[in-house]
Symmetry: C2
Subunit: 139 residues, 2 copies
């Protein structure tokens, strides 16, 4: 995704496309794995972590990104597919215990569980932990 595409996506979603936001959105769009705040801070290098944090929080409020916890200690972020952000469309994530990378299993829908009477669901987090293909067989 180039600079302009990021910019128009932000505008389309009613988010003022500031320079920082465009960069952050672009970097997110190019990430191959869900990333943490620190990952972004390092990848970008020029934007303060507080600004990235506030931007991510705001993106999440606008359903531009999906924030979730994998098994690690840090929150992970990834772009939402355009407009899609309902529980039924959530996908699963996989956390590799060896390389500590989080995979986004786009094609694995989160299976639905039946909640007991009285509980109302807003969000579901489904994370499988284990060993990823790259790490199979490694020490």
């Amino acid at each position: 995704m180039d600079y302009n595409e990021a910019k128009s996506t932000l505008s389309a979603r009613k988010v003022k496309p500031t320079a920082n936001r465009i960069i952050i959105y672009k970097v997110l769009s190019e990430a191959t794995h869900p990333v943490s705040l620190t990952d972004l801070e390092i990848a970008i290098g020029t934007i303060d972590k507080a600004s990235i944090f506030r931007t991510l929080t705001m993106f999440a409020d606008h359903d531009l990104v999906h924030a979730f916890m994998d098994g690690s200690k840090s929150m992970k972020y990834e772009l939402c597919v355009a407009g899609v952000h309902t529980i039924g469309d959530m996908h699963a994530h996989f956390y590799c215990e060896k390389c500590l990378k989080t995979y986004c299993l786009e094609d694995v829908r989160v299976p639905q569980a039946n909640l007991p009477e009285g509980f109302t669901a807003h969000d579901v987090n489904y994370v499988v932990k284990g060993i990823c293909p790259d790490c199979q067989g490694k020490l």
Copy 2:
């Protein structure tokens, strides 16, 4: 669970039943919700948090407790059902966004997703976020 029962459970699981460990195990067994390190520190009052931390970590290694992340910032711990700690037996958790309490949905099995080729699962974390029965209708 009383002191002696906790003690023999620890022994049965090859964990030396020190005074601290017995207390921690007992408190865990009496908790109605999964608890955090801080919850335990406060509930017990007399044991240092580093000791509780090391004990919990060790209990987790021995599959005496199950450690998992709910949507909050702190790790939650709960006793494992005796000996049962396979993926197929994992149950779901529910995190209330209003009262911030975590519920252990004992009866809700974690639905299984099919992982892509090459991934091996060791553990699954299934947390539903929303509003709990107690908080329905509250402001």
